[in-house]
């Protein structure tokens, strides 16, 4: 159980043009802003019942930026985007397993 929790709990999160998460187990994953914004899971962007994507990715500017962010309990991150959108909670589990990211490797 403990090892599993370390995998989905971030030790550090920062933004430098990309979003970086360093996980408690030492892994380091990196996310593209545009890819993350267009994958927003909130009810304005995805139909709650059918899971159909409402948000048209082409409507999101390629130079979308992050204004602020906040931890939601132990399980997620809320991001305030430069287009004013701020509702989606990106869960840590999905940040590990679902949202597109690259993993910074050591070799």
């Amino acid at each position: 159980m403990a090892a599993d929790f370390k995998r989905t709990i971030p030790e550090d999160i920062y933004f430098d043009g990309k979003m970086h998460i360093v996980w408690k187990n030492g892994d380091h994953t990196i996310y593209d802003y545009w890819e993350l914004r267009t994958a927003c899971p909130c009810a304005d962007c995805v139909n709650e019942f059918t899971n159909e994507r409402i948000l048209d990715p082409n409507s999101v500017s390629k130079d979308i930026d992050v204004h602020a962010s906040a931890y939601i309990g132990n399980y997620g991150l809320e991001i305030q985007w430069s287009d004013g959108h701020a509702h989606g909670i990106f869960t840590f589990k999905d940040l590990r397993d679902v949202y597109p990211h690259e993993t910074r490797t050591l070799n």
């Binding site: 159980m1 403990a2 929790f5 989905t8 709990i9 030790e11 550090d12 999160i13 920062y14 933004f15 430098d16 043009g17 970086h20 360093v22 030492g26 380091h28 992050v66 602020a68 962010s69 906040a70 931890y71 939601i72 309990g73 132990n74 399980y75 991150l77 840590f92 589990k93 050591l106 070799n107």
Partner: protein, 349 residues
């Protein structure tokens, strides 16, 4: 410079960067450092060429820094260039969580109602206190607050001083309950958003003393209160109270499932109303069956913290506002609660 920072710099000067002989200060590896409480936050620059030694360097820095009295944790942000290091500063997510003045925030939960959650919460809190811990208690059951009655504080009203709500003190603990904010007879009829607002106000505006443990007594089930607490605090974990019969176990599984979804570890299960020992003849009757919760904990691979029998003293203590752990500290039940508290402490250290 802060004395802790100075000590840290001395440590850095003893750590060499790769095999080129320079230390990590002179090699400009340490880009910035800040120390908050007992956690040191570092931004390090390790270029691509040296990526191979990055992890061992991180481990070495962690090991050496935590030897300094006053630094317990080290968070390292590895960047690949000075520009990247600069860009990474000042953009961390906001920590909007409440109850940060407590080292541990423990949620006492159950799937089903009426399994003795509040009784366990109060006695567990007092048991932790008897073991030398500084403990506070939050009654988050906004619809049926029972902690005020259990702590003989039904008539009391919380005071507001300088925009802060002052928690009530009983038996050496601070506690807060909606029951001490609205009339006892008045039903709380709140929709979800109102529940969220009221709880956030209590979390934000209470003048807590802080300490080792904040015990939160949740209402039964998997509803608004649970979600709010899961979002606004960084809970250490939850203990799930359950009676041993099948229907209760079914609901407990749902509760555990919910905590899994919000990344809150289940620290253990507690079997309440385990069995009844007749005070007249000594015969043991497993009214709600016995051992079901311990078996469940084995199946689910979560620790079993202990079992509490059905005993008149526990119920009397609850109703009279004199919880058994405090009123009868040497009774067998009080000892069982203390054992449970010790199991919980052990699981966290």
């Amino acid at each position: 410079m802060d004395p802790l920072q100075e000590k840290a710099v001395e440590v850095f000067k003893q750590i060499s960067f790769g095999d080129n002989g320079t230390n990590i200060i002179d090699a400009n590896v340490v880009n910035s450092m800040s120390i908050e409480d007992t956690t040191a936050h570092l931004v390090l620059v390790v270029d691509k060429e040296h990526e191979g030694i990055r992890d061992s360097l991180g481990n070495q820095i962690r090991e050496e820094l935590t030897k300094i009295d006053g630094i317990e944790q080290v968070v390292i942000r590895f960047t690949q260039s000075e520009d990247e290091a600069k860009a990474s500063l000042g953009t961390s997510p906001q920590q909007a969580q409440y109850l940060k003045e407590y080292a541990n925030v423990i949620l006492v939960a159950s799937g089903k109602g009426g399994v003795g959650k509040s009784t366990v919460a109060v006695n567990l809190a007092l048991a932790l206190k008897s073991l030398g811990k500084r403990v506070s208690l939050l009654d988050a059951d906004v619809f049926g607050p029972s902690i005020p009655a259990m702590l003989k504080a039904r008539e009391e009203r919380v005071l507001v001083e300088k925009d802060k709500i002052k928690p009530i003190e009983r038996l050496g603990m601070q506690f807060m309950s909606v029951g001490n904010m609205v009339d006892e007879e008045m039903a709380v009829i709140w929709r979800g958003p109102m529940v969220h607002q009221a709880l956030e106000q209590i979390l934000r505006d209470s003048a807590w003393n802080g300490g080792d443990y904040m015990i939160i007594d949740l209402p039964p089930g998997t509803g608004d209160v649970q979600i709010t607490i899961a979002q606004l605090t960084q809970a250490t974990g939850t203990v799930v109270v359950c009676t041993p019969q099948d229907v209760a176990l079914l609901d407990a599984r749902k509760a555990m499932g919910m905590f899994g979804k919000v990344n809150i570890p289940v620290l253990g299960l507690i079997e309440n109303m385990s069995s009844f020992v007749c005070p007249k003849c000594g015969a043991e009757t497993p009214i709600f069956s016995k051992g079901g919760v311990e078996k469940e904990s084995g199946d689910k691979n979560v620790p079993f913290l202990g079992r509490i029998p059905i005993e008149l003293d526990i119920r009397l203590g609850g109703d009279s506002g004199e919880p058994v752990v405090d009123a009868m500290p040497n009774s067998a039940v009080a000892k069982q609660f203390k054992e449970m508290a010790q199991n919980l402490i052990d699981s966290l250290e």
